[in-house]
């Protein structure tokens, strides 16, 4: 008898957990509205939730027309009745966020909790909201919305599930710190209703990221894991394609054939200037020094990167590094964190002082995090990265358990 194992990818919006606070990034206003209404439809039709649509992209009547076209609602009278009972709520961004002269955070929050509580009294499971925040950027309050988001937890503490909807154009204007706040204060990140991926367009435009990529490697830890090779090749390949300076620092560089094997697999590698990629061969020196609290080799590397950037007039840099993973695996926890903090400061410093955009991909074997004391230190690792993703590049919340990575790809 044959057993066939099929992995299917379910739409993220069918799997959203109650009280989630979701960051949604949309490639166009049209896409935002389509995806927003679909997310609300699922809540209304399949999960017995009241819904709240907040946008200025369409008038209320246009929203109603869209709902009538695509939702299981038989007549406009039925829709009117649902609106009257606050089961379906359609609001403009202006009336929710800018109804007073001064933006009143408490008033805005109260509107949400009142509607959520009302939904409960109507025997609904809670409120599902879609909040288009474009108005903040249009009126020059981009930083205000970040502060507003900062005051909200990654999981909401009343029965509401909400997508905070950002246009990609607006998201691109945010600095490193602001994006970090957004990632930290939402427990799920979506791009056009799909799980956000580090290879999305929204990432390629902003290279100042400190990314933690978890991969699974069940076999002996010294063996080079194949699970992240496609992502590694894509990450470096895209960097070279965009004329970025790419640096590869891996403990596996000690293996005689490793570099050749990796470099040969990068698509069109011969096309790119050969000095656009630097590989660190003596990675063991970096490891030994880092384990002994000496980051001088890394400081020297920073200087080399900076000099190269000045000499070749390069503004964008991509780095792949797995040395922290080996420090972590060998229980040099504080040294691993110190190195990650150093990277974080270096990315910021090179950006602030020299206008360089640095994106760093740190590779970690998730199997190392299963047991005590390793699992306790996961929080420190996650906290030092702006993005946490799996080996396919799918972005996860910093607070989600590792098991949830598998939940997104259901085995059938």
């Amino acid at each position: 008898m044959y057993y066939i194992r099929i992995i299917i990818t379910l739409s993220p919006i069918t799997q959203i957990q109650d009280k989630s606070h979701i960051l949604g990034i949309y490639s166009s206003p049209q896409r935002k509205i389509e995806d927003g209404l679909e997310y609300l439809r699922i809540g209304f039709e399949e999960r017995n939730e009241a819904i709240l649509m907040i946008t200025n992209e369409l008038t209320k009547n246009e929203v109603r027309n869209e709902i009538m076209k695509n939702w299981k609602i038989s007549s406009s009278e039925e829709l009117a009745n649902l609106e009257k009972n606050s089961i379906i709520n359609i609001k403009s961004s202006t009336e929710i966020y800018f109804s007073t002269k001064r933006i009143d955070r408490n008033k805005i929050s109260k509107q949400f909790s009142d509607l959520a509580n009302k939904a409960i009294t109507k025997e609904k499971r809670g409120l599902r909201a879609f909040g288009d925040v474009k108005i903040f950027f249009e009126r020059g309050y981009g930083q205000y919305i970040i502060e507003f988001e900062k005051s909200s937890p990654a999981s909401l503490d009343f029965p509401m599930t909400a997508i905070c909807a950002y246009d990609l154009d607006d998201f691109d204007t945010l600095d490193h710190r602001s994006r970090k706040i957004l990632f930290e204060h939402h427990n799920l990140h979506l791009t056009n209703n799909l799980f956000r991926n580090i290879f999305d367009d929204s990432f390629s435009k902003n290279t100042n990221e400190h990314i933690c990529m978890y991969y699974e490697n069940g076999s002996q830890y010294s063996a080079f894991p194949n699970s992240f090779v496609p992502s590694l090749l894509r990450y470096l390949g895209e960097g070279l394609q965009q004329n970025q300076f790419c640096i590869y620092i891996s403990m596996h560089n000690m293996e005689k054939d490793h570099l050749k094997t990796i470099l040969d697999q990068i698509p069109n590698i011969k096309k790119y200037p050969k000095n656009n990629i630097m590989v660190i061969k003596n990675s063991e020196d970096y490891y030994i020094n880092a384990a002994c609290n000496n980051l001088k080799p890394f400081e020297d590397l920073k200087r080399q990167i900076f000099e190269k950037a000045i000499l070749d007039n390069i503004k964008e840099i991509r780095i792949v590094c797995d040395i922290p993973n080996f420090l972590f695996r060998n229980i040099h926890f504080d040294q691993c964190i110190a190195l990650e903090e150093w990277w974080d400061q270096t990315i910021e410093e090179l950006n602030k002082n020299h206008g360089l955009n640095v994106s760093l991909l740190c590779l970690y074997n998730s199997n190392n995090f299963q047991n005590t004391p390793f699992k306790y230190h996961r929080y420190r690792i996650n906290d030092n990265h702006s993005i946490v993703c799996d080996s396919e590049g799918i972005v996860h919340s910093k607070y989600s358990a590792f098991g949830s990575l598998k939940d997104k790809r259901k085995d059938k």
Partner: protein, 344 residues
């Protein structure tokens, strides 16, 4: 094909400047095959068969350069070390081998020696033979990456020596003895650094007991107290405020007096500086919070202090491992994120 650009750090070391790792094993072929796949830039790995080790030692003893360049020794006893070996509790050790090990330890007394045994399950058996300390034991599988880690372990300073003023450290202990040993070491480092040490003890540790332990290290408590280098108190008295007389229902009568505690800390830091010291180092035993059911309050109190303290103070929080095991995921997350050095 792109030529990899070499990073030039530490390049140009000739072979004779390279440090040596000595691996004694009966499985040379296996290691040769494995290690040949790697380039290690600043180290040579010398493989010696157990049968040849004594000859090797004779040669080694006559060559000063070789002795100088030897970084560490690894003794692999995960394979039979003699053709006719006897299994001693499933470890492949013959009487001859244990004698040889003693000889090696004598000859290489100035070098760090690691032992490679077949599996984790044999660590306790091996420890009972009193050949090695726990921290010097490694298990199979063993790769080049493990050798690199042994090099760093050999070079690394002991962690109590790594922490300094402004750090906020957490460590868990499974035994009171280990905790007291560290408290004494913590004090000794403080004396050396000209920092005032505060030891906050669990109620079950009598000061006289601590005094006797310190005497073994030639530490005269009263002298260091007079020199303003030492301050000893009980955690319970330092942190907690008892609203009523202590009764049987302790949980309802006690709270953390955060405000007063902060005032006390600030005043001690100021006093330390005024006395010409560099700052304050505090070793706090945290059991009392658990004994009085003040776990949530403790986590909140810990989180008030950031991972890097603003004032010249080193805070060392000593927990029992069983207490940390009781905490929820979220409590552990908060605790871990509020410390700069986490040894749990």
């Amino acid at each position: 094909m792109l030529e990899p650009v070499e990073n030039h750090n530490n390049q140009g070391n000739s072979n004779n400047k390279k440090k040596t790792i000595l691996l004694v094993t009966n499985n040379i072929q296996h290691y040769q095959q494995n290690f040949n796949n790697y380039n290690i830039h600043n180290y040579n790995i010398t493989l010696v068969n157990w049968n040849d080790i004594l000859t090797f030692i004779i040669h080694f003893n006559h060559d000063n350069n070789e002795r100088k360049n030897l970084e560490l020794v690894i003794l692999d006893i995960s394979m039979p070390v003699a053709v006719e070996y006897t299994k001693v509790s499933q470890l492949y050790l013959t009487t001859t081998t244990t004698t040889t090990i003693k000889e090696i330890k004598k000859i290489f007394s100035d070098k760090r020696i690691f032992f490679l045994i077949p599996s984790q399950s044999m660590i306790e058996i091996f420890l009972s033979m009193e050949i090695s300390k726990r921290e010097d034991i490694r298990t199979q599988p063993f790769s080049v990456f493990d050798i690199i880690d042994l090099i760093s372990t050999t070079k690394k300073k002991e962690r109590l020596y790594q922490i300094q003023l402004h750090d906020h450290t957490i460590q868990t202990y499974s035994s009171m003895d280990d905790k007291i040993k560290d408290a004494i070491k913590f004090l000794k480092i403080g004396i050396k650094n000209n920092e005032t040490t505060v030891l906050l003890l669990d109620k079950n540790i009598q000061e006289s007991y601590l005094q006797s332990k310190m005497a073994l290290h030639d530490i005269d408590i009263s002298k260091f107290r007079n020199d303003k280098l030492l301050n000893i108190s009980y955690s319970e008295d330092w942190y907690l405020l008892f609203n009523q007389k202590k009764g049987s229902n302790k949980t309802n009568t006690v709270r953390i007096d955060s405000e007063q505690v902060n005032i006390k800390w600030n005043s001690l830091i100021e006093e330390s500086i005024n006395n010409g010291k560099k700052g304050l180092r505090v070793f706090s035993m945290m059991d009392c919070f658990f004994e009085y059911g003040l776990v949530d309050e403790l986590i909140d109190y810990e989180c008030i202090r950031p991972p890097k303290l603003n004032k010249p103070c080193l805070a060392f929080c000593a927990y029992k491992d069983k207490h940390v095991a009781q905490l929820s995921e979220d409590q552990i997350r908060r605790l871990v994120l509020t410390h700069s050095s986490v040894w749990i």
